[in-house]
Subunit: 114 residues, 4 copies
């Protein structure tokens, strides 16, 4: 088995997951938590999917590249929400999510839908 | 927030994940491990995705129903492989995967693909 | 490989994880989110650890029973916080966490600490 | 909320998880899979725990530092097994696990055991 050539993509996914984890816990510490609810929810989903995508790629799973399609979708949703908030952790998370969405887009495969 | 009406679906996903975990570790104990490699790999992916799907549904995630599309795909792949092997754990896993794939199919939403 | 005899314990762990997932997302919908921050954080940790514990037991991992010690700890912390809040989801979660902590206590093994 | 000062530790945990994922899937491709069974099992547990530890640290969880105690234990077990095998992926994994075990050791907190 040859070393995977997805090293950069995997690190991008993990960096995005860490940005989301940090954003979610930081949002919970903000004064106006109520305004951050959608952000917290998307952060959590996005962190979960990015970590899972990284692990599927690293283990050379047959569904890894299809998984990236869904991962791209949640990264875009999370970026769109985070960018609305001025907090540094939200802006950093929005940036990480956009970068990750683009990386997923370049590598995903279609999913059969009937 | 109203109680989720996906209780049965969530339990089906978790039962499938447990069948896959058990099948994977049991396959590793079989005499002819070499023949079980594809089964072990799919079991692992399927367990990961089914657990994640259950958690997304339980937390009412916006991407939960799109996730089920991918979950259905990996359940079908895992069922197709498991059913080839006579071991009791493989046959039980194939059955759990088929049941879960059908449940996912009834509840999934399309994913936008460009 | 014989069928695991931890079926009830595993289901208790998964039920606790689902109660935590539901409590966390419901807390985010409450009017006074600010008061629920500690609850949301513990719910999330508790859900993660209970799911992981269930999977380790189901795959007969050598560290499964040590893991239960940590799982018990987080279940107790989560129960202590949840019980303070009158919301139905918090009370249900507190109950699930206490049940799970007790089940973990009966089955855990010591961890070597130097 | 201040930026976490655990950046290096978190990356060490993620690097270890990736080494374990790669080692597990590579072991499954080896001619003598039967000899690699213990390695595959520990790789899987170790990957799961290291990813979880990284996420708990990143979200500043109250149980993150206790979790590192268990993480250290599984990293040591995985390193001890991997080092026995001459495959490059096993040697690389053994090294990553030892590095991670040492990092966990420096940062863990005791777990109350009664």
């Amino acid at each position: 088995m040859e070393q995977r050539n997805h090293k950069a993509l995997i690190q991008t996914l993990l960096d995005c997951a860490l940005a989301c984890e940090y954003c979610a816990s930081s949002c919970l510490e903000e004064g106006h938590v109520k305004m951050m609810v959608k952000c917290i929810k998307l952060d959590r989903d996005c962190a979960d999917l990015c970590v899972q995508a990284a692990r599927l790629l690293q283990r050379d799973s047959v569904i890894a590249h299809q998984y990236l399609l869904l991962c791209e979708e949640v990264c875009r949703l999370c970026a769109e929400e985070c960018v609305k908030h001025h907090h540094e952790h939200c802006q950093a998370c929005a940036k990480a999510c956009r970068t990750c969405a683009d990386a997923c887009h370049k590598n995903h495969e279609p999913i059969y839908q009937d």
